[in-house]
Protein backbone atom coordinates (compact mmCIF):
# COMPACT_ATOMS: atom_id res chain seq x y z
CA UNK A 1 0.00 0.00 0.00
CA UNK A 2 2.64 2.51 1.07
CA UNK A 3 4.88 1.67 -1.84
CA UNK A 4 1.98 1.97 -4.26
CA UNK A 5 0.93 5.33 -2.89
CA UNK A 6 4.49 6.52 -3.10
CA UNK A 7 4.74 5.46 -6.72
CA UNK A 8 1.50 7.24 -7.53
CA UNK A 9 2.86 10.46 -6.11
CA UNK A 10 6.33 10.09 -7.58
CA UNK A 11 5.38 9.12 -11.11
CA UNK A 12 3.74 12.36 -12.20
CA UNK A 13 6.40 14.44 -10.52
CA UNK A 14 9.22 12.64 -12.30
CA UNK A 15 7.37 13.13 -15.57
CA UNK A 16 7.03 16.85 -14.95
CA UNK A 17 10.72 17.26 -14.18
CA UNK A 18 11.83 15.50 -17.37
CA UNK A 19 9.39 17.64 -19.35
CA UNK A 20 10.81 20.81 -17.92
CA UNK A 21 14.40 19.69 -18.47
CA UNK A 22 13.42 18.90 -22.04
CA UNK A 23 12.00 22.35 -22.69
CA UNK A 24 14.93 23.93 -20.90
CA UNK A 25 17.31 22.19 -23.30
CA UNK A 26 15.28 23.30 -26.31
CA UNK A 27 15.39 26.92 -25.20
CA UNK A 28 19.00 26.64 -24.09
CA UNK A 29 20.25 25.20 -27.38
CA UNK A 30 18.23 27.77 -29.33
CA UNK A 31 19.68 30.71 -27.43
CA UNK A 32 23.19 29.31 -27.52
CA UNK A 33 23.03 29.24 -31.31
CA UNK A 34 21.61 32.76 -31.44
CA UNK A 35 24.00 34.13 -28.85
CA UNK A 36 27.04 32.68 -30.61
CA UNK A 37 25.88 34.10 -33.93
CA UNK A 38 25.12 37.54 -32.46
CA UNK A 39 27.97 37.95 -30.01
CA UNK A 40 30.71 36.42 -32.14
CA UNK A 41 29.68 37.22 -35.72
CA UNK A 42 33.23 36.22 -36.71
CA UNK A 43 33.18 33.31 -37.29
CA UNK A 44 29.89 32.04 -35.79
CA UNK A 45 27.51 34.49 -37.42
CA UNK A 46 29.05 33.78 -40.80
CA UNK A 47 28.91 30.02 -40.26
CA UNK A 48 25.29 30.24 -39.13
CA UNK A 49 24.21 32.10 -42.27
CA UNK A 50 26.13 29.66 -44.43
CA UNK A 51 24.44 26.68 -42.75
CA UNK A 52 20.86 28.00 -43.00
CA UNK A 53 20.40 26.66 -46.56
CA UNK A 54 21.46 23.26 -45.27
CA UNK A 55 18.89 23.42 -42.44
CA UNK A 56 16.15 23.99 -45.02
CA UNK A 57 17.37 21.04 -47.11
CA UNK A 58 17.63 18.77 -44.06
CA UNK A 59 14.10 19.66 -42.92
CA UNK A 60 12.67 19.35 -46.43
CA UNK A 61 14.36 16.02 -46.97
CA UNK A 62 13.14 14.70 -43.62
CA UNK A 63 9.53 15.80 -44.09
CA UNK A 64 9.24 14.58 -47.70
CA UNK A 65 10.87 11.24 -46.85
CA UNK A 66 8.68 10.85 -43.79
CA UNK A 67 5.50 11.12 -45.88
CA UNK A 68 6.71 8.28 -48.08
CA UNK A 69 7.87 6.34 -45.03
CA UNK A 70 4.39 6.50 -43.48
CA UNK A 71 2.86 5.29 -46.74
CA UNK A 72 5.38 2.44 -47.09
CA UNK A 73 4.96 1.61 -43.40
CA UNK A 74 1.19 1.29 -43.76
CA UNK A 75 1.40 -0.87 -46.89
CA UNK A 76 4.30 -2.93 -45.48
CA UNK A 77 2.56 -3.40 -42.14
CA UNK A 78 -0.65 -4.58 -43.80
CA UNK A 79 1.44 -6.85 -46.03
CA UNK A 80 3.15 -8.39 -43.01
CA UNK A 81 -0.29 -9.09 -41.50
CA UNK A 82 -1.77 -10.41 -44.73
CA UNK A 83 -2.82 -14.06 -44.88
CA UNK A 84 -2.03 -14.07 -48.59
CA UNK A 85 1.33 -15.91 -48.77
CA UNK A 86 2.60 -13.84 -51.73
CA UNK A 87 1.87 -10.43 -50.20
CA UNK A 88 3.14 -11.61 -46.84
CA UNK A 89 6.26 -13.09 -48.41
CA UNK A 90 7.10 -9.88 -50.31
CA UNK A 91 6.60 -7.72 -47.24
CA UNK A 92 8.64 -10.02 -45.01
CA UNK A 93 11.44 -10.25 -47.53
CA UNK A 94 11.55 -6.47 -47.88
CA UNK A 95 11.65 -5.88 -44.13
CA UNK A 96 14.27 -8.54 -43.43
CA UNK A 97 16.61 -7.54 -46.26
CA UNK A 98 16.49 -3.82 -45.61
CA UNK A 99 16.89 -4.17 -41.86
CA UNK A 100 19.99 -6.28 -42.45
CA UNK A 101 21.88 -3.64 -44.46
CA UNK A 102 23.27 -0.42 -42.95
CA UNK A 103 21.58 2.78 -44.12
CA UNK A 104 24.93 4.17 -45.26
CA UNK A 105 25.48 1.20 -47.56
CA UNK A 106 21.94 1.47 -48.92
CA UNK A 107 22.48 5.13 -49.77
CA UNK A 108 25.81 4.40 -51.45
CA UNK A 109 24.15 1.55 -53.35
CA UNK A 110 21.35 3.76 -54.70
CA UNK A 111 23.75 6.55 -55.65
CA UNK A 112 26.68 4.60 -57.10
CA UNK A 113 25.58 1.04 -57.83
CA UNK A 114 21.98 1.44 -58.96
CA UNK A 115 22.75 3.50 -62.11
CA UNK A 116 25.13 0.76 -63.30
CA UNK A 117 22.60 -1.92 -62.48
CA UNK A 118 19.89 -0.03 -64.40
CA UNK A 119 22.24 0.33 -67.37
CA UNK A 120 22.91 -3.41 -67.43
CA UNK A 121 19.20 -4.21 -67.21
CA UNK A 122 18.45 -1.54 -69.79
CA UNK A 123 20.87 -2.94 -72.40
CA UNK A 124 19.56 -6.46 -71.79
CA UNK A 125 15.98 -5.21 -72.35
CA UNK A 126 17.00 -3.36 -75.49
CA UNK A 127 18.01 -6.71 -76.95
CA UNK A 128 14.34 -7.73 -76.79
CA UNK A 129 12.64 -5.67 -79.47
CA UNK A 130 9.28 -5.47 -77.70
CA UNK A 131 10.87 -3.99 -74.58
CA UNK A 132 13.38 -1.66 -76.25
CA UNK A 133 11.53 1.46 -75.09
CA UNK A 134 11.53 0.30 -71.48
CA UNK A 135 15.23 -0.52 -71.80
CA UNK A 136 16.06 2.97 -73.06
CA UNK A 137 14.03 4.46 -70.20
CA UNK A 138 16.10 2.44 -67.71
CA UNK A 139 19.35 3.69 -69.28
CA UNK A 140 18.19 7.32 -69.37
CA UNK A 141 16.92 7.23 -65.80
CA UNK A 142 19.12 9.48 -63.67
CA UNK A 143 18.17 10.23 -60.11
CA UNK A 144 18.92 13.70 -58.81
CA UNK A 145 20.79 13.71 -55.48
CA UNK A 146 17.67 14.85 -53.62
CA UNK A 147 15.46 12.16 -55.20
CA UNK A 148 18.11 9.51 -54.52
CA UNK A 149 18.32 10.64 -50.91
CA UNK A 150 14.54 10.57 -50.44
CA UNK A 151 14.40 7.14 -52.09
CA UNK A 152 17.15 5.73 -49.88
CA UNK A 153 15.76 7.10 -46.63
CA UNK A 154 12.19 6.06 -47.53
CA UNK A 155 13.11 2.50 -48.43
CA UNK A 156 15.26 2.04 -45.34
CA UNK A 157 13.00 3.68 -42.77
CA UNK A 158 9.92 2.22 -44.48
CA UNK A 159 11.06 -1.23 -43.35
CA UNK A 160 11.29 -0.19 -39.72
CA UNK A 161 8.01 1.70 -40.01
CA UNK A 162 6.32 -1.41 -41.42
CA UNK A 163 7.19 -3.24 -38.23
CA UNK A 164 5.82 -0.40 -36.11
CA UNK A 165 2.54 -0.40 -38.06
CA UNK A 166 2.33 -4.18 -37.83
CA UNK A 167 2.84 -4.15 -34.06
CA UNK A 168 0.34 -1.30 -33.67
CA UNK A 169 -2.37 -3.03 -35.67
CA UNK A 170 -1.70 -6.33 -33.89
CA UNK A 171 -2.10 -4.63 -30.52
CA UNK A 172 -5.78 -3.92 -31.23
CA UNK A 173 -7.91 -6.78 -29.81
CA UNK A 174 -9.24 -9.28 -32.36
CA UNK A 175 -12.80 -8.57 -31.23
CA UNK A 176 -12.65 -5.12 -32.82
CA UNK A 177 -12.16 -6.52 -36.30
CA UNK A 178 -14.80 -9.18 -35.66
CA UNK A 179 -17.33 -6.63 -34.46
CA UNK A 180 -16.69 -4.44 -37.50
CA UNK A 181 -16.95 -7.37 -39.89
CA UNK A 182 -20.09 -8.66 -38.18
CA UNK A 183 -21.72 -5.31 -39.02
CA UNK A 184 -21.04 -5.99 -42.70
CA UNK A 185 -17.95 -3.83 -43.12
CA UNK A 186 -15.31 -4.97 -45.59
CA UNK A 187 -11.75 -5.61 -44.42
CA UNK A 188 -10.63 -2.20 -45.65
CA UNK A 189 -13.61 -0.37 -44.17
CA UNK A 190 -12.90 -2.04 -40.82
CA UNK A 191 -9.23 -1.03 -41.07
CA UNK A 192 -10.05 2.50 -42.09
CA UNK A 193 -12.76 3.28 -39.52
CA UNK A 194 -12.08 0.94 -36.60
CA UNK A 195 -8.57 -0.53 -36.44
CA UNK A 196 -6.28 2.20 -37.78
CA UNK A 197 -7.74 5.08 -35.71
CA UNK A 198 -7.02 3.01 -32.60
CA UNK A 199 -3.64 1.77 -33.82
CA UNK A 200 -2.65 5.34 -34.61
CA UNK A 201 -2.81 6.23 -30.91
CA UNK A 202 -0.67 3.22 -30.03
CA UNK A 203 2.04 3.89 -32.59
CA UNK A 204 2.28 7.64 -32.21
CA UNK A 205 5.22 7.53 -29.74
CA UNK A 206 7.40 5.14 -31.81
CA UNK A 207 6.48 6.96 -35.03
CA UNK A 208 7.53 10.24 -33.44
CA UNK A 209 10.81 8.66 -32.38
CA UNK A 210 11.38 7.51 -35.94
CA UNK A 211 10.89 11.06 -37.18
CA UNK A 212 13.57 12.35 -34.83
CA UNK A 213 15.90 9.46 -35.70
CA UNK A 214 15.33 10.18 -39.40
CA UNK A 215 16.21 13.82 -38.88
CA UNK A 216 19.57 12.75 -37.48
CA UNK A 217 20.21 9.94 -39.97
CA UNK A 218 19.47 12.30 -42.85
CA UNK A 219 23.00 13.62 -42.22
CA UNK A 220 24.24 10.48 -44.00
CA UNK A 221 22.86 11.73 -47.32
CA UNK A 222 25.71 14.24 -47.40
CA UNK A 223 27.64 11.46 -49.19
CA UNK A 224 25.18 11.79 -52.13
CA UNK A 225 26.03 15.40 -52.93
CA UNK A 226 22.88 16.66 -51.23
CA UNK A 227 23.63 20.01 -49.63
CA UNK A 228 22.07 19.24 -46.29
CA UNK A 229 23.18 20.69 -42.97
CA UNK A 230 26.07 18.26 -42.59
CA UNK A 231 27.37 18.76 -46.11
CA UNK A 232 27.19 22.54 -45.75
CA UNK A 233 29.29 22.12 -42.64
CA UNK A 234 31.89 20.12 -44.55
CA UNK A 235 31.96 22.66 -47.34
CA UNK A 236 32.49 25.51 -44.92
CA UNK A 237 35.21 23.67 -43.05
CA UNK A 238 37.01 22.83 -46.29
CA UNK A 239 36.97 26.52 -47.22
CA UNK A 240 38.09 28.01 -43.91
CA UNK A 241 39.58 25.18 -41.83
CA UNK A 242 37.58 26.49 -38.85
CA UNK A 243 36.73 22.95 -37.82
CA UNK A 244 35.92 23.52 -34.15
CA UNK A 245 33.60 26.44 -34.77
CA UNK A 246 31.86 24.88 -37.76
CA UNK A 247 31.10 21.52 -36.17
CA UNK A 248 30.08 23.10 -32.87
CA UNK A 249 27.52 25.11 -34.79
CA UNK A 250 26.32 22.11 -36.81
CA UNK A 251 25.98 19.99 -33.66
CA UNK A 252 24.09 22.72 -31.81
CA UNK A 253 21.61 23.18 -34.67
CA UNK A 254 20.95 19.41 -34.86
CA UNK A 255 20.55 19.33 -31.10
CA UNK A 256 18.00 22.13 -31.18
CA UNK A 257 16.03 20.52 -34.02
CA UNK A 258 15.89 17.04 -32.46
CA UNK A 259 15.01 18.34 -29.00
CA UNK A 260 12.34 20.59 -30.43
CA UNK A 261 10.66 17.79 -32.43
CA UNK A 262 10.90 15.36 -29.49
CA UNK A 263 8.97 17.84 -27.38
CA UNK A 264 6.42 18.32 -30.14
CA UNK A 265 5.84 14.57 -30.32
CA UNK A 266 5.43 14.45 -26.55
CA UNK A 267 2.74 17.12 -26.68
CA UNK A 268 0.85 15.25 -29.41
CA UNK A 269 0.98 12.06 -27.33
CA UNK A 270 -0.56 13.85 -24.36
CA UNK A 271 -3.34 15.25 -26.53
CA UNK A 272 -4.25 11.86 -27.87
CA UNK A 273 -4.20 10.29 -24.42
CA UNK A 274 -6.71 12.81 -23.13
CA UNK A 275 -8.94 12.38 -26.15
CA UNK A 276 -9.35 8.67 -25.53
CA UNK A 277 -10.41 9.03 -21.89
Amino acid sequence: MAAEAERAILAPRRLRITLEVGWFLVVFSFFTVLALAQLKPQPFGRIFRFLLDGVAVTLGLTVVSFCFILLIGLIGGLGRLSKNPILNGIATLYVEIIRGIPLMVQLLYIWFALPQLLDIIGYKLKGISALAGVGQWFIDLKLSPFVAAVTGLSICYGAYMSEIFRAGIESIPKGQMEAARSLGMSYFQAMRYVILPQAFRVILPPVGNEFVALLKDSSLVSVLAVSDLTRRGREYMARTFESLETWTMVALIYLFLTLFFSRLVRIMEKRVEFEVK
Binding site: A179, S182, L183, V276, K277
Partner: protein, 245 residues
Protein backbone atom coordinates in the same frame (compact mmCIF):
# COMPACT_ATOMS: atom_id res chain seq x y z
CA UNK B 1 -40.13 -17.06 -48.91
CA UNK B 2 -40.16 -20.09 -46.73
CA UNK B 3 -40.43 -19.50 -43.03
CA UNK B 4 -37.08 -21.21 -42.53
CA UNK B 5 -34.44 -18.46 -42.17
CA UNK B 6 -31.31 -20.41 -41.20
CA UNK B 7 -30.51 -23.84 -42.54
CA UNK B 8 -27.30 -25.59 -41.47
CA UNK B 9 -26.37 -28.98 -42.86
CA UNK B 10 -23.58 -31.31 -41.80
CA UNK B 11 -21.22 -28.67 -40.48
CA UNK B 12 -17.68 -29.66 -39.50
CA UNK B 13 -14.99 -27.47 -37.97
CA UNK B 14 -11.67 -28.33 -36.33
CA UNK B 15 -9.07 -26.18 -34.62
CA UNK B 16 -5.86 -28.20 -34.94
CA UNK B 17 -6.68 -31.48 -33.21
CA UNK B 18 -9.74 -30.14 -31.41
CA UNK B 19 -13.03 -30.95 -33.06
CA UNK B 20 -15.27 -27.93 -32.49
CA UNK B 21 -18.21 -28.94 -34.69
CA UNK B 22 -18.90 -32.53 -35.61
CA UNK B 23 -21.71 -32.99 -38.16
CA UNK B 24 -24.06 -30.31 -36.88
CA UNK B 25 -27.37 -29.75 -38.66
CA UNK B 26 -29.88 -27.16 -37.55
CA UNK B 27 -32.81 -25.25 -38.92
CA UNK B 28 -34.24 -22.05 -37.45
CA UNK B 29 -37.66 -20.64 -38.37
CA UNK B 30 -38.43 -16.96 -38.86
CA UNK B 31 -39.27 -15.36 -35.50
CA UNK B 32 -38.00 -18.30 -33.52
CA UNK B 33 -35.86 -17.88 -30.39
CA UNK B 34 -33.34 -20.70 -30.10
CA UNK B 35 -31.14 -21.01 -27.02
CA UNK B 36 -28.01 -23.13 -27.14
CA UNK B 37 -26.68 -24.51 -23.87
CA UNK B 38 -23.83 -26.85 -23.07
CA UNK B 39 -20.47 -27.11 -21.30
CA UNK B 40 -17.57 -24.91 -22.37
CA UNK B 41 -15.81 -26.28 -25.43
CA UNK B 42 -19.04 -27.82 -26.71
CA UNK B 43 -18.87 -25.78 -29.92
CA UNK B 44 -21.72 -23.37 -29.09
CA UNK B 45 -19.79 -20.19 -29.91
CA UNK B 46 -18.20 -21.77 -32.98
CA UNK B 47 -21.62 -22.67 -34.34
CA UNK B 48 -22.83 -19.11 -33.78
CA UNK B 49 -19.72 -17.63 -35.37
CA UNK B 50 -20.11 -19.88 -38.40
CA UNK B 51 -23.57 -18.43 -39.06
CA UNK B 52 -22.08 -15.02 -39.95
CA UNK B 53 -18.86 -16.55 -41.16
CA UNK B 54 -16.51 -15.18 -38.52
CA UNK B 55 -15.32 -18.78 -38.55
CA UNK B 56 -14.99 -20.62 -41.82
CA UNK B 57 -16.46 -24.13 -41.52
CA UNK B 58 -14.32 -26.94 -42.90
CA UNK B 59 -17.28 -28.67 -44.47
CA UNK B 60 -21.05 -28.34 -44.69
CA UNK B 61 -23.57 -25.78 -45.91
CA UNK B 62 -25.12 -22.75 -44.29
CA UNK B 63 -28.04 -21.01 -45.95
CA UNK B 64 -29.18 -17.74 -44.41
CA UNK B 65 -32.42 -16.21 -45.68
CA UNK B 66 -32.15 -18.15 -48.92
CA UNK B 67 -28.55 -17.06 -49.61
CA UNK B 68 -25.98 -19.84 -49.40
CA UNK B 69 -22.86 -18.79 -47.48
CA UNK B 70 -20.10 -19.64 -49.88
CA UNK B 71 -16.61 -18.23 -49.67
CA UNK B 72 -17.48 -15.40 -52.04
CA UNK B 73 -16.81 -12.14 -50.29
CA UNK B 74 -19.83 -10.32 -51.73
CA UNK B 75 -22.22 -12.87 -50.29
CA UNK B 76 -20.53 -12.89 -46.93
CA UNK B 77 -20.63 -9.13 -46.41
CA UNK B 78 -24.25 -9.05 -47.57
CA UNK B 79 -25.23 -11.70 -45.06
CA UNK B 80 -23.24 -10.21 -42.23
CA UNK B 81 -25.21 -7.00 -42.56
CA UNK B 82 -28.43 -9.04 -42.22
CA UNK B 83 -27.18 -10.92 -39.16
CA UNK B 84 -26.56 -8.89 -36.03
CA UNK B 85 -24.08 -10.24 -33.51
CA UNK B 86 -23.61 -9.41 -29.85
CA UNK B 87 -20.39 -10.52 -28.20
CA UNK B 88 -19.49 -11.59 -24.69
CA UNK B 89 -16.87 -8.82 -24.47
CA UNK B 90 -19.19 -6.16 -26.05
CA UNK B 91 -16.44 -5.13 -28.51
CA UNK B 92 -17.62 -1.54 -28.72
CA UNK B 93 -15.26 0.73 -30.65
CA UNK B 94 -13.46 2.56 -27.82
CA UNK B 95 -12.46 5.59 -29.91
CA UNK B 96 -16.08 6.40 -30.80
CA UNK B 97 -18.98 7.63 -28.66
CA UNK B 98 -22.01 5.42 -28.09
CA UNK B 99 -23.85 7.32 -30.84
CA UNK B 100 -20.94 7.03 -33.29
CA UNK B 101 -20.64 3.32 -32.52
CA UNK B 102 -24.23 2.93 -33.69
CA UNK B 103 -24.03 5.23 -36.73
CA UNK B 104 -20.70 4.06 -38.20
CA UNK B 105 -21.82 0.91 -40.00
CA UNK B 106 -25.13 2.52 -41.02
CA UNK B 107 -23.22 5.25 -42.83
CA UNK B 108 -20.40 3.09 -44.21
CA UNK B 109 -22.29 -0.10 -45.09
CA UNK B 110 -25.93 0.96 -45.45
CA UNK B 111 -24.95 4.33 -47.02
CA UNK B 112 -27.43 6.24 -44.89
CA UNK B 113 -27.00 9.97 -44.38
CA UNK B 114 -25.51 11.04 -41.07
CA UNK B 115 -28.80 12.66 -40.02
CA UNK B 116 -30.84 9.57 -40.75
CA UNK B 117 -28.26 7.31 -39.04
CA UNK B 118 -28.29 9.51 -35.94
CA UNK B 119 -32.07 9.56 -35.85
CA UNK B 120 -32.16 5.76 -35.95
CA UNK B 121 -29.35 5.55 -33.38
CA UNK B 122 -31.22 7.81 -30.95
CA UNK B 123 -34.41 5.76 -31.36
CA UNK B 124 -32.46 2.62 -30.52
CA UNK B 125 -30.68 4.18 -27.55
CA UNK B 126 -34.16 5.16 -26.36
CA UNK B 127 -35.28 1.59 -26.81
CA UNK B 128 -32.38 0.14 -24.79
CA UNK B 129 -32.94 2.78 -22.13
CA UNK B 130 -29.82 4.96 -22.27
CA UNK B 131 -30.50 7.95 -24.56
CA UNK B 132 -28.63 10.17 -22.08
CA UNK B 133 -25.40 8.26 -22.79
CA UNK B 134 -25.34 9.04 -26.51
CA UNK B 135 -22.19 11.13 -26.28
CA UNK B 136 -20.34 9.01 -23.71
CA UNK B 137 -17.33 6.93 -24.72
CA UNK B 138 -17.45 3.18 -23.96
CA UNK B 139 -14.87 3.58 -21.17
CA UNK B 140 -17.33 5.88 -19.39
CA UNK B 141 -20.15 3.30 -19.45
CA UNK B 142 -20.85 0.35 -17.16
CA UNK B 143 -20.68 -3.16 -18.59
CA UNK B 144 -24.47 -3.38 -18.81
CA UNK B 145 -24.70 -0.05 -20.60
CA UNK B 146 -21.93 -1.06 -23.01
CA UNK B 147 -23.72 -4.27 -23.87
CA UNK B 148 -26.96 -2.39 -24.48
CA UNK B 149 -25.13 -0.03 -26.84
CA UNK B 150 -23.69 -3.09 -28.58
CA UNK B 151 -27.22 -4.48 -29.04
CA UNK B 152 -28.40 -1.12 -30.40
CA UNK B 153 -25.41 -1.06 -32.75
CA UNK B 154 -26.37 -4.46 -34.17
CA UNK B 155 -30.07 -3.51 -34.42
CA UNK B 156 -29.26 -0.34 -36.34
CA UNK B 157 -28.45 -2.49 -39.37
CA UNK B 158 -32.06 -3.76 -39.22
CA UNK B 159 -30.89 -7.37 -39.18
CA UNK B 160 -33.23 -10.26 -39.84
CA UNK B 161 -31.45 -12.42 -37.28
CA UNK B 162 -29.68 -11.59 -34.02
CA UNK B 163 -26.94 -13.80 -32.61
CA UNK B 164 -26.00 -13.47 -28.95
CA UNK B 165 -22.75 -15.08 -27.79
CA UNK B 166 -22.95 -15.31 -23.98
CA UNK B 167 -24.07 -11.68 -23.79
CA UNK B 168 -24.24 -11.56 -19.99
CA UNK B 169 -21.23 -13.71 -19.01
CA UNK B 170 -18.85 -10.76 -18.62
CA UNK B 171 -21.34 -8.68 -16.60
CA UNK B 172 -21.64 -8.04 -12.90
CA UNK B 173 -24.78 -9.72 -11.51
CA UNK B 174 -26.69 -6.49 -10.96
CA UNK B 175 -26.30 -5.55 -14.63
CA UNK B 176 -27.47 -8.82 -16.13
CA UNK B 177 -31.16 -7.99 -15.84
CA UNK B 178 -30.98 -4.74 -17.80
CA UNK B 179 -29.45 -6.59 -20.74
CA UNK B 180 -31.84 -9.55 -20.50
CA UNK B 181 -34.81 -7.17 -20.44
CA UNK B 182 -33.73 -5.71 -23.76
CA UNK B 183 -33.31 -9.20 -25.19
CA UNK B 184 -36.74 -10.28 -23.88
CA UNK B 185 -38.33 -7.26 -25.49
CA UNK B 186 -36.67 -8.16 -28.81
CA UNK B 187 -37.94 -11.72 -28.54
CA UNK B 188 -41.48 -10.47 -27.91
CA UNK B 189 -41.28 -8.23 -30.97
CA UNK B 190 -40.69 -11.34 -33.08
CA UNK B 191 -36.96 -11.08 -33.79
CA UNK B 192 -35.30 -14.31 -34.87
CA UNK B 193 -32.68 -14.98 -32.22
CA UNK B 194 -29.99 -17.58 -31.66
CA UNK B 195 -28.64 -17.21 -28.16
CA UNK B 196 -25.82 -18.92 -26.33
CA UNK B 197 -26.65 -18.37 -22.68
CA UNK B 198 -27.21 -20.13 -19.41
CA UNK B 199 -29.46 -17.43 -17.99
CA UNK B 200 -32.40 -19.53 -16.87
CA UNK B 201 -34.69 -16.53 -16.48
CA UNK B 202 -34.27 -15.65 -20.13
CA UNK B 203 -34.43 -19.25 -21.34
CA UNK B 204 -37.71 -19.93 -19.55
CA UNK B 205 -39.31 -16.65 -20.57
CA UNK B 206 -38.26 -16.47 -24.20
CA UNK B 207 -36.89 -19.70 -25.66
CA UNK B 208 -39.06 -21.47 -28.25
CA UNK B 209 -36.48 -24.23 -28.47
CA UNK B 210 -33.48 -25.29 -26.41
CA UNK B 211 -30.50 -27.06 -27.92
CA UNK B 212 -28.00 -28.94 -25.79
CA UNK B 213 -24.54 -29.29 -27.33
CA UNK B 214 -21.59 -31.31 -26.12
CA UNK B 215 -18.36 -32.39 -27.82
CA UNK B 216 -19.20 -30.54 -31.04
CA UNK B 217 -22.53 -32.32 -31.52
CA UNK B 218 -26.16 -31.45 -30.90
CA UNK B 219 -27.00 -33.99 -28.24
CA UNK B 220 -30.61 -33.11 -27.67
CA UNK B 221 -33.14 -30.45 -28.60
CA UNK B 222 -36.68 -29.64 -27.58
CA UNK B 223 -38.89 -27.14 -25.83
CA UNK B 224 -37.86 -25.64 -22.50
CA UNK B 225 -40.27 -28.07 -20.83
CA UNK B 226 -38.77 -31.13 -22.52
CA UNK B 227 -35.13 -30.27 -21.98
CA UNK B 228 -35.30 -29.07 -18.41
CA UNK B 229 -37.97 -31.36 -17.00
CA UNK B 230 -37.66 -34.52 -19.08
CA UNK B 231 -34.22 -34.74 -20.64
CA UNK B 232 -33.74 -38.02 -22.50
CA UNK B 233 -29.97 -38.15 -22.75
CA UNK B 234 -27.69 -38.92 -19.82
CA UNK B 235 -25.25 -36.15 -20.80
CA UNK B 236 -28.05 -33.59 -20.76
CA UNK B 237 -29.13 -34.72 -17.31
CA UNK B 238 -25.58 -34.57 -16.00
CA UNK B 239 -25.06 -31.07 -17.37
CA UNK B 240 -28.39 -29.75 -16.10
CA UNK B 241 -27.72 -31.09 -12.63
CA UNK B 242 -24.64 -28.86 -12.57
CA UNK B 243 -26.25 -25.63 -13.72
CA UNK B 244 -29.64 -26.00 -11.97
CA UNK B 245 -28.71 -26.02 -8.33
Amino acid sequence: MSDEIIRIEHLYKRFGHVVALDDVSLSVKRGEVVVIIGPSGAGKSTLLRCINHLEKPDRGTIIVDGIPLTHEKANINKIRAEVGMVFQQFNLFPHLTALENITLAQIVVRKRSRQEAERIAMELLEKVGIPDKAHAYPAQLSGGQQQRVAIARALAMQPKIMLFDEPTSALDPEMIKEVLDVMLQLAREGMTMVVVSHEMGFVKAAADRVIFMDGGKIVEEGTVEQIFNNPREERTKAFLSKILI
